[in-house]
Symmetry: C2
Subunit: 229 residues, 2 copies
């Protein structure tokens, strides 16, 4: 296997980031995973990230706490109700949008990359099933890559950062087939914005709908438990 | 006075950011100040930020906690000794560099700006007395501004963000004269990387040296107490 050196992979505990971590490993990177606890409603996501890191035997997994509640502005961190049974591809930007979230996540990944001597950062954004988030688009990824190379000690002393978004053009079904081929255990992942007290997915929020549709299209069975199916 | 709308100002509690907040107010902005508690060694900085926000009667002041200790990599957050009595303009990047700090600070400011409907973000970076930090340069500010406009709901639905760095070309002496003219009380600010247990500045670290030189050049007296002078 080729040794591509160190990479930082943003690991949320969802199926996209789990697949992304597996892709980075396939490409010969030593994976330093970074999860961000940004005041999510549920610790379920972080538990999933830990399971995925263990499943894939990643080199390292760190969790950084960022308390966004002082800033507010999203159903994922505030007390706004998570929308149910809406069409997730209907257009418009949903209330589950966290202000500047991917900018913040990549900023943290960039700092971590400097510390572990990595010039490769992986993020599992996806522009096809993207639910209308502006910071999931290719132009966002390119703009951040440019920023990284003027922002840092590493980028201004000979190195060059690459922001990898290997899922950006894939459908959920394609992502699931890719990850299944790389041995990702999707039972360890969580996608739901609003799990029940037992940690079971609701099956009704945008994220659950996209996930279930993806498994159906890929001809695969979703191994996680749902509260209402 | 003109009403320029809302602005987000990054407020560290140091003299540069205090001056920047006063400039934003002079320019007619309603100032929403954001301080970041990123696991600093001392809470002195945040206390200074609160005093400055009160002095200037800013519209709002929020503190976001980001625990960077899981990532590490800097004398300001780790247990690396802060260098003393070195020439702060000698070149090279000092160990007090926090990986990707200004990228992270601006990311948080960008999210806050979206929430408070601001398109103007102020940061007190300074390229002249800049101590060798790559993320204090004009090209960094321009790259972040471009990023902001592709990263956000606000930037992609008709608005345009401006990142203001009003101090970028000023010397410390010029900054102090500017702020003094706008009524900034520098007694409320803190610059020291390594204050003593009583909160007094060391007078010897890079940041103290730049500050003291600035006051001397401006012909002003520094109102803060030093441990060793």
């Amino acid at each position: 296997m080729t040794d591509s050196g160190n990479a930082v992979v943003l690991l949320s505990g969802g199926l996209d980031s789990a697949t992304t971590a597996a892709v980075a490993q396939r490409d010969g990177f030593r994976v330093h995973a970074l999860s961000v606890d940004y005041g999510q409603r549920h610790a379920v996501e972080l538990d999933s990230a830990r399971r995925v890191a263990a499943d894939l035997a990643l080199a390292r997994h760190v969790v950084v706490r960022v308390d966004l509640r002082a800033v507010g502005g999203s159903a994922l961190t505030d007390d706004i109700a998570v929308p149910k049974n809406e069409d997730p591809t209907a257009g418009g930007i949903p209330v589950t949008y966290v202000p500047a979230r991917n900018t913040l996540l990549l900023s943290l990944a960039l700092g971590f990359a400097e510390v572990v001597d990595a010039f490769d950062i992986f993020i599992g954004v996806n522009a096809l099933d993207y639910s209308g988030y502006p910071d999931c688009r290719p132009e966002f990824i390119r703009a951040f890559e440019k920023l990284a190379n003027v922002a840092t000690k590493a980028g201004t002393t000979g190195g060059a950062f690459t922001i990898h978004a290997p899922l950006i053009d894939l459908s959920k079904a394609e992502i699931l087939r890719l990850g299944s081929g790389l041995g990702v255990d999707y039972a360890s992942t969580t996608s739901c914005y609003d799990p029940d007290p037992g940690g079971r997915a609701c099956g009704e929020c945008d994220s659950c709908q996209l996930r279930l549709r993806g498994f159906a299209e890929a001809g695969l069975k979703d191994p996680v438990a749902y509260a209402r199916r």
